[in-house]
Protein backbone atom coordinates (compact mmCIF):
# COMPACT_ATOMS: atom_id res chain seq x y z
CA UNK A 1 0.00 0.00 0.00
CA UNK A 2 1.39 3.38 -0.95
CA UNK A 3 1.48 6.16 1.59
CA UNK A 4 -0.59 9.31 1.08
CA UNK A 5 1.13 11.95 -1.04
CA UNK A 6 2.97 14.70 0.75
CA UNK A 7 3.20 18.21 -0.50
CA UNK A 8 6.60 19.06 -1.92
CA UNK A 9 8.01 22.44 -2.86
CA UNK A 10 7.67 21.53 -6.53
CA UNK A 11 4.00 20.70 -6.07
CA UNK A 12 3.44 23.90 -4.05
CA UNK A 13 4.91 25.81 -6.97
CA UNK A 14 2.55 24.04 -9.35
CA UNK A 15 -0.40 24.80 -7.10
CA UNK A 16 0.34 28.51 -7.03
CA UNK A 17 1.31 29.17 -10.63
CA UNK A 18 0.07 32.49 -11.91
CA UNK A 19 -2.20 31.53 -14.83
CA UNK A 20 -3.33 35.02 -15.73
CA UNK A 21 -4.03 36.04 -18.42
CA UNK A 22 -6.43 33.13 -18.71
CA UNK A 23 -6.51 31.03 -21.84
CA UNK A 24 -8.60 27.87 -22.02
CA UNK A 25 -7.39 24.57 -23.45
CA UNK A 26 -9.92 24.98 -26.27
CA UNK A 27 -8.56 28.42 -27.12
CA UNK A 28 -5.03 27.04 -26.95
CA UNK A 29 -5.97 24.28 -29.38
CA UNK A 30 -7.65 26.81 -31.63
CA UNK A 31 -4.47 28.90 -31.86
CA UNK A 32 -1.72 26.29 -31.71
CA UNK A 33 -1.30 25.76 -35.47
CA UNK A 34 -0.90 29.46 -36.16
CA UNK A 35 1.35 30.08 -33.14
CA UNK A 36 3.65 27.18 -34.04
CA UNK A 37 4.00 28.32 -37.65
CA UNK A 38 4.72 31.86 -36.47
CA UNK A 39 7.33 30.53 -34.05
CA UNK A 40 9.14 28.80 -36.90
CA UNK A 41 8.94 32.05 -38.84
CA UNK A 42 10.84 33.76 -36.03
CA UNK A 43 7.97 35.40 -34.21
CA UNK A 44 7.31 35.27 -30.48
CA UNK A 45 4.36 33.57 -28.85
CA UNK A 46 1.44 35.48 -27.27
CA UNK A 47 1.86 35.86 -23.50
CA UNK A 48 -1.44 34.16 -22.68
CA UNK A 49 -0.40 31.20 -24.82
CA UNK A 50 2.93 30.86 -23.01
CA UNK A 51 1.25 31.17 -19.61
CA UNK A 52 -1.17 28.41 -20.56
CA UNK A 53 1.56 26.06 -21.79
CA UNK A 54 3.53 26.53 -18.58
CA UNK A 55 0.50 25.46 -16.58
CA UNK A 56 -0.91 22.74 -18.84
CA UNK A 57 1.45 19.82 -19.51
CA UNK A 58 -0.98 18.18 -21.96
CA UNK A 59 -1.24 21.25 -24.19
CA UNK A 60 2.51 21.78 -23.85
CA UNK A 61 3.25 18.22 -24.97
CA UNK A 62 0.99 18.55 -27.99
CA UNK A 63 2.25 22.00 -29.02
CA UNK A 64 5.85 20.80 -28.73
CA UNK A 65 5.01 17.78 -30.85
CA UNK A 66 3.49 19.99 -33.54
CA UNK A 67 6.56 22.25 -33.51
CA UNK A 68 8.80 19.19 -33.92
CA UNK A 69 6.70 17.83 -36.79
CA UNK A 70 6.74 21.15 -38.63
CA UNK A 71 10.46 21.57 -38.05
CA UNK A 72 11.08 18.09 -39.42
CA UNK A 73 8.96 18.78 -42.49
CA UNK A 74 10.82 22.02 -43.12
CA UNK A 75 14.17 20.24 -42.89
CA UNK A 76 15.22 22.14 -39.79
CA UNK A 77 17.26 20.99 -36.83
CA UNK A 78 14.41 19.47 -34.81
CA UNK A 79 16.28 19.32 -31.50
CA UNK A 80 17.37 22.95 -31.74
CA UNK A 81 13.87 24.07 -32.72
CA UNK A 82 12.29 22.18 -29.84
CA UNK A 83 14.90 23.61 -27.46
CA UNK A 84 14.03 27.11 -28.65
CA UNK A 85 10.35 26.35 -28.06
CA UNK A 86 11.10 25.08 -24.54
CA UNK A 87 13.21 28.14 -23.79
CA UNK A 88 10.29 30.36 -24.72
CA UNK A 89 7.73 28.37 -22.75
CA UNK A 90 9.44 26.82 -19.75
CA UNK A 91 12.45 29.09 -19.55
CA UNK A 92 12.73 32.66 -18.43
CA UNK A 93 13.17 34.24 -21.85
Amino acid sequence: MSSPPRLSLTAAHELTLDTDPYLSCDDCFDQVDQVCENLLAGQTMPRAFVVHLRACPACLEEAESLVALLADEDGRDVAATVQHFEDLTLGTT
Partner: protein, 222 residues
Protein backbone atom coordinates in the same frame (compact mmCIF):
# COMPACT_ATOMS: atom_id res chain seq x y z
CA UNK B 1 -0.40 6.63 -56.31
CA UNK B 2 -2.20 9.64 -54.90
CA UNK B 3 -1.36 13.21 -55.83
CA UNK B 4 0.30 13.89 -52.50
CA UNK B 5 2.45 10.79 -52.69
CA UNK B 6 3.53 11.83 -56.20
CA UNK B 7 4.50 15.29 -55.00
CA UNK B 8 8.30 15.41 -54.58
CA UNK B 9 7.84 17.72 -51.59
CA UNK B 10 5.90 14.98 -49.84
CA UNK B 11 8.59 12.42 -50.58
CA UNK B 12 10.92 14.70 -48.62
CA UNK B 13 8.34 14.92 -45.92
CA UNK B 14 7.43 18.53 -46.60
CA UNK B 15 3.84 19.22 -47.50
CA UNK B 16 4.35 22.55 -49.18
CA UNK B 17 2.00 25.48 -49.12
CA UNK B 18 0.68 24.71 -52.59
CA UNK B 19 0.10 21.02 -51.85
CA UNK B 20 -1.62 21.92 -48.61
CA UNK B 21 -3.96 24.33 -50.35
CA UNK B 22 -4.56 21.81 -53.09
CA UNK B 23 -5.56 19.15 -50.58
CA UNK B 24 -8.00 21.57 -48.95
CA UNK B 25 -9.52 22.31 -52.35
CA UNK B 26 -9.80 18.66 -53.34
CA UNK B 27 -11.52 17.81 -50.06
CA UNK B 28 -14.26 20.17 -51.20
CA UNK B 29 -14.53 18.29 -54.49
CA UNK B 30 -16.72 15.34 -55.27
CA UNK B 31 -16.56 11.74 -56.41
CA UNK B 32 -13.20 10.06 -56.85
CA UNK B 33 -11.33 13.34 -56.46
CA UNK B 34 -12.68 13.75 -52.93
CA UNK B 35 -12.14 10.10 -52.10
CA UNK B 36 -8.49 10.40 -53.13
CA UNK B 37 -8.18 13.57 -51.08
CA UNK B 38 -9.59 11.82 -48.01
CA UNK B 39 -7.02 9.05 -48.46
CA UNK B 40 -4.28 11.67 -48.64
CA UNK B 41 -5.64 13.36 -45.54
CA UNK B 42 -5.67 10.05 -43.70
CA UNK B 43 -2.05 9.43 -44.71
CA UNK B 44 -1.08 12.79 -43.21
CA UNK B 45 -3.01 12.05 -40.03
CA UNK B 46 -1.23 8.70 -39.77
CA UNK B 47 2.12 10.42 -40.20
CA UNK B 48 1.33 12.88 -37.42
CA UNK B 49 0.04 10.13 -35.17
CA UNK B 50 3.19 8.05 -35.67
CA UNK B 51 5.27 11.15 -35.05
CA UNK B 52 3.53 11.68 -31.71
CA UNK B 53 3.95 8.03 -30.76
CA UNK B 54 7.61 8.24 -31.75
CA UNK B 55 8.09 11.11 -29.31
CA UNK B 56 6.53 9.02 -26.57
CA UNK B 57 8.88 6.18 -27.47
CA UNK B 58 11.83 8.53 -27.06
CA UNK B 59 10.67 9.27 -23.53
CA UNK B 60 10.31 5.61 -22.61
CA UNK B 61 6.91 4.71 -23.95
CA UNK B 62 7.00 0.97 -24.52
CA UNK B 63 7.14 -0.47 -27.99
CA UNK B 64 4.44 -3.01 -28.64
CA UNK B 65 1.94 -4.03 -31.27
CA UNK B 66 -0.57 -1.57 -29.90
CA UNK B 67 1.37 1.39 -31.25
CA UNK B 68 0.19 0.85 -34.80
CA UNK B 69 -3.29 0.13 -33.55
CA UNK B 70 -3.27 3.43 -31.68
CA UNK B 71 -1.81 5.23 -34.69
CA UNK B 72 -4.49 4.00 -37.08
CA UNK B 73 -7.27 4.54 -34.60
CA UNK B 74 -6.13 8.11 -33.90
CA UNK B 75 -5.66 8.78 -37.61
CA UNK B 76 -9.19 7.53 -38.30
CA UNK B 77 -10.63 9.75 -35.57
CA UNK B 78 -8.59 12.75 -36.65
CA UNK B 79 -9.63 12.33 -40.27
CA UNK B 80 -13.28 12.35 -39.24
CA UNK B 81 -12.77 15.40 -37.02
CA UNK B 82 -11.04 17.32 -39.79
CA UNK B 83 -13.73 16.46 -42.31
CA UNK B 84 -16.47 17.44 -39.86
CA UNK B 85 -14.78 20.80 -39.19
CA UNK B 86 -13.53 21.53 -42.68
CA UNK B 87 -15.69 24.63 -42.99
CA UNK B 88 -14.23 26.09 -39.77
CA UNK B 89 -10.71 26.27 -41.25
CA UNK B 90 -9.93 29.98 -41.53
CA UNK B 91 -6.59 29.83 -43.31
CA UNK B 92 -4.57 31.26 -40.41
CA UNK B 93 -2.02 28.46 -40.94
CA UNK B 94 -1.37 25.90 -43.61
CA UNK B 95 -4.29 23.52 -43.88
CA UNK B 96 -2.01 20.59 -43.16
CA UNK B 97 -0.69 22.24 -39.97
CA UNK B 98 -4.25 22.84 -38.87
CA UNK B 99 -5.11 19.20 -39.59
CA UNK B 100 -2.01 17.82 -37.87
CA UNK B 101 -3.09 19.19 -34.52
CA UNK B 102 -6.16 16.96 -34.54
CA UNK B 103 -4.04 13.84 -35.07
CA UNK B 104 -1.58 14.86 -32.37
CA UNK B 105 -4.41 15.59 -29.94
CA UNK B 106 -6.13 12.26 -30.62
CA UNK B 107 -2.90 10.28 -30.32
CA UNK B 108 -1.67 12.04 -27.19
CA UNK B 109 -5.02 11.78 -25.46
CA UNK B 110 -5.42 8.10 -26.25
CA UNK B 111 -1.84 7.32 -25.24
CA UNK B 112 -2.22 9.04 -21.88
CA UNK B 113 -5.56 7.38 -21.27
CA UNK B 114 -4.15 3.91 -21.94
CA UNK B 115 -1.00 4.53 -19.94
CA UNK B 116 -2.88 5.68 -16.86
CA UNK B 117 -5.59 3.07 -17.16
CA UNK B 118 -2.96 0.36 -17.14
CA UNK B 119 -1.23 2.08 -14.26
CA UNK B 120 -4.34 1.72 -12.10
CA UNK B 121 -4.10 5.28 -10.93
CA UNK B 122 -6.52 6.37 -8.29
CA UNK B 123 -7.81 9.89 -8.24
CA UNK B 124 -10.13 9.46 -5.33
CA UNK B 125 -10.46 12.37 -2.97
CA UNK B 126 -7.63 12.39 -0.50
CA UNK B 127 -6.16 15.27 1.43
CA UNK B 128 -2.50 15.97 1.57
CA UNK B 129 -1.69 14.79 5.02
CA UNK B 130 1.44 16.62 5.85
CA UNK B 131 3.69 19.32 4.52
CA UNK B 132 7.28 18.20 4.62
CA UNK B 133 10.55 19.35 3.26
CA UNK B 134 10.87 16.26 1.12
CA UNK B 135 12.68 18.31 -1.44
CA UNK B 136 16.31 19.28 -1.85
CA UNK B 137 15.48 22.79 -0.76
CA UNK B 138 16.05 23.42 2.92
CA UNK B 139 15.48 27.05 2.89
CA UNK B 140 13.31 28.13 5.76
CA UNK B 141 11.08 30.40 3.69
CA UNK B 142 10.41 27.66 1.19
CA UNK B 143 9.47 25.19 3.91
CA UNK B 144 7.17 27.77 5.39
CA UNK B 145 5.70 28.47 1.96
CA UNK B 146 4.88 24.77 1.50
CA UNK B 147 3.17 24.76 4.90
CA UNK B 148 1.10 27.84 4.01
CA UNK B 149 0.03 26.33 0.69
CA UNK B 150 -0.84 23.07 2.41
CA UNK B 151 -3.00 24.86 4.98
CA UNK B 152 -4.68 26.94 2.28
CA UNK B 153 -5.51 23.82 0.28
CA UNK B 154 -7.51 22.53 3.21
CA UNK B 155 -9.22 25.79 4.08
CA UNK B 156 -9.62 27.77 0.87
CA UNK B 157 -10.46 25.17 -1.77
CA UNK B 158 -13.70 23.37 -2.37
CA UNK B 159 -13.62 19.57 -2.20
CA UNK B 160 -13.79 19.43 -5.99
CA UNK B 161 -10.96 21.92 -6.42
CA UNK B 162 -8.83 20.02 -3.91
CA UNK B 163 -9.54 16.71 -5.63
CA UNK B 164 -8.50 18.07 -9.01
CA UNK B 165 -5.45 19.89 -7.70
CA UNK B 166 -4.17 16.89 -5.77
CA UNK B 167 -4.67 14.59 -8.76
CA UNK B 168 -2.98 16.90 -11.28
CA UNK B 169 -0.45 18.98 -9.38
CA UNK B 170 0.52 16.54 -6.62
CA UNK B 171 0.00 13.09 -8.14
CA UNK B 172 0.83 14.18 -11.70
CA UNK B 173 -2.22 12.67 -13.36
CA UNK B 174 -2.77 14.20 -16.83
CA UNK B 175 -5.67 16.64 -17.03
CA UNK B 176 -7.49 14.72 -19.73
CA UNK B 177 -7.26 11.53 -17.68
CA UNK B 178 -8.71 13.36 -14.65
CA UNK B 179 -11.41 14.81 -16.89
CA UNK B 180 -12.41 11.38 -18.15
CA UNK B 181 -12.59 9.96 -14.62
CA UNK B 182 -14.72 12.87 -13.45
CA UNK B 183 -16.95 12.88 -16.52
CA UNK B 184 -15.93 16.33 -17.65
CA UNK B 185 -13.58 17.98 -20.13
CA UNK B 186 -9.92 18.97 -20.07
CA UNK B 187 -11.08 22.53 -20.61
CA UNK B 188 -13.21 22.40 -17.46
CA UNK B 189 -10.42 20.85 -15.41
CA UNK B 190 -8.03 23.59 -16.44
CA UNK B 191 -10.60 26.22 -15.42
CA UNK B 192 -11.01 24.56 -12.01
CA UNK B 193 -7.24 24.67 -11.60
CA UNK B 194 -7.05 28.29 -12.73
CA UNK B 195 -9.64 29.33 -10.12
CA UNK B 196 -8.01 27.21 -7.41
CA UNK B 197 -4.58 28.64 -8.15
CA UNK B 198 -5.98 32.15 -7.81
CA UNK B 199 -7.45 31.26 -4.42
CA UNK B 200 -4.20 29.73 -3.20
CA UNK B 201 -2.12 32.66 -4.37
CA UNK B 202 -4.50 35.09 -2.70
CA UNK B 203 -4.37 33.05 0.52
CA UNK B 204 -0.57 33.13 0.54
CA UNK B 205 -0.58 36.91 0.07
CA UNK B 206 -3.31 37.44 2.67
CA UNK B 207 -1.51 35.34 5.27
CA UNK B 208 2.13 36.11 4.58
CA UNK B 209 2.14 39.27 2.51
CA UNK B 210 3.03 39.83 -1.11
CA UNK B 211 6.70 39.48 -0.25
CA UNK B 212 6.45 35.73 0.16
CA UNK B 213 4.80 35.25 -3.23
CA UNK B 214 7.43 37.51 -4.81
CA UNK B 215 10.18 35.52 -3.10
CA UNK B 216 8.76 32.28 -4.37
CA UNK B 217 8.26 33.67 -7.87
CA UNK B 218 11.89 34.76 -7.89
CA UNK B 219 13.00 31.31 -6.80
CA UNK B 220 10.78 29.65 -9.38
CA UNK B 221 12.38 31.63 -12.18
CA UNK B 222 15.92 30.51 -11.33
Amino acid sequence: MSELEADPEVVRGNVGVAASADLFARLHGSGSEREDAIQDLHALMLRASRHQLGRLMASGYRDDARREEIAYSAADEATMLVLDRLDTFEGRSRFTTWAYKFAILQTATESRRLAWREGQVSIEVHDVTEAVAGTPERDLEERHFVRVVFDAMNTELTAHQREVMVAVAVDGVPTDVVAERLGTTRNAIYKVMHDARRRLRRAVVDREGAEMMELIEAGRAT
